[in-house]
Symmetry: C2
Subunit: 213 residues, 2 copies
């Protein structure tokens, strides 16, 4: 399988970095091909703005969706987006590896979605090519994340509410919308509070997930 | 009242820009003070990273939360964050004005949360100062947004699911977590598909909301 890992933690030696390294090692050992986008490492531009569109459909007023459709149709995407699109097309499985900040993705990863999940690449709204007809149909996607708060706080009865419910705005309205089959998420909760031994046990669960790919 | 509007659309002449302008005009006419952060206009840095911390608690390994706590305690926040923190402290009401991209905030606005909603400013986890004890207690907050998809698609029975549910990761785990009282959201759904007359009618509803402040 071709596995594309998008990594969004600013510190390579963080637990997120360790998890990403484990994934790369196991997947390669198991004969898979792996590509990585280390968003902080490549200083990925997080903000969808006019600078993404050298050639404009409407130079008077900037409508991001209209310019995205136009840039995809005319092949005028900037190189950094084109690189990500090619990895996305290449991949059988997409893994997003990130720390949960404010019950959501870090801005740099949201910006990767905003800029790379393009009309004409991941969906085609005009032709109804969304959800089961989404353009990434046949591929799978998975969230792998760490949280500061322990899992009790993220239970459905806990103060924050069920994080998997909150993540439906990723797993459903991004992944499934684009036609991706959603794999179960791997969450390492309460990362900072756990003992080294405890983290190791959690990582064993992650390795099992990876070995089942 | 002091009203702080955080505006996150790349095009000043967009419908989002119009809605923001209407809010400013009505609020000022009604005797309120208004401050704005036009995130695209000021080219707000969206990404929380090491550059935010000139003086580091731990120069060896970058842990964002630890460095944020340290920078707030020592007054070493960069000026752009400090400016936002001051507006936040000044405000009685915070309004986030944005286009919904992927059932969520644009990355630049998520980055504003990541960088400005600081420990020691909006909450103090260590002392249990979250939710009812959150440091922004006594202030209110409101989402004002536009969507591409019409409201039927965002109903609880619709394909995307209820957007207000998805937005609980903002209204509950960001706003309420920080002690903010949540005002009802104003959503202008299916913005691009509406007639000018229809948009006007929706904006009248928004004006009523503003006049009730």
């Amino acid at each position: 399988m071709n596995v594309f890992i998008v990594f969004a933690h600013p510190e390579p030696t963080s637990l997120n970095g360790t998890i990403k390294d484990i994934a790369v090692k196991i997947l390669k050992n198991n004969g898979h091909e792996v590509k990585i986008s280390d968003l902080y490492g490549i200083n990925f531009k997080a903000v969808l703005d006019q600078e993404d569109f050298a050639s404009r459909k409407n130079p008077e007023s900037f409508n991001p969706m209209i310019e995205q459709v136009n840039a995809v149709a005319n092949g005028t995407l900037p190189q950094d987006i084109q690189d990500e699109v090619e990895k996305l097309k290449w991949a059988d499985i997409l893994i997003l590896q990130f720390p949960v900040w404010w019950s959501s993705m870090p801005a740099i990863l949201k910006g990767w979605i905003d800029r790379v999940f393009l009309p004409g690449v991941v969906h085609n709204m005009g032709e109804g090519k969304v959800y089961n007809e989404g353009l990434l149909n046949g591929k799978k996607a998975m969230l792998s994340f760490t949280t500061g708060s322990p899992q009790e706080l993220y239970s459905s009865e806990g103060p924050h509410g069920d994080l998997n419910e909150a993540f439906r705005s990723i797993t459903h309205t991004i992944f499934e919308f684009a036609g991706l089959e959603v794999m179960p998420s791997f969450g390492l909760y309460g990362a900072a509070m756990r003992s080294e031994e405890d983290v190791k046990m959690e990582l064993e669960k992650f390795k099992q997930v990876l070995n089942s790919i």
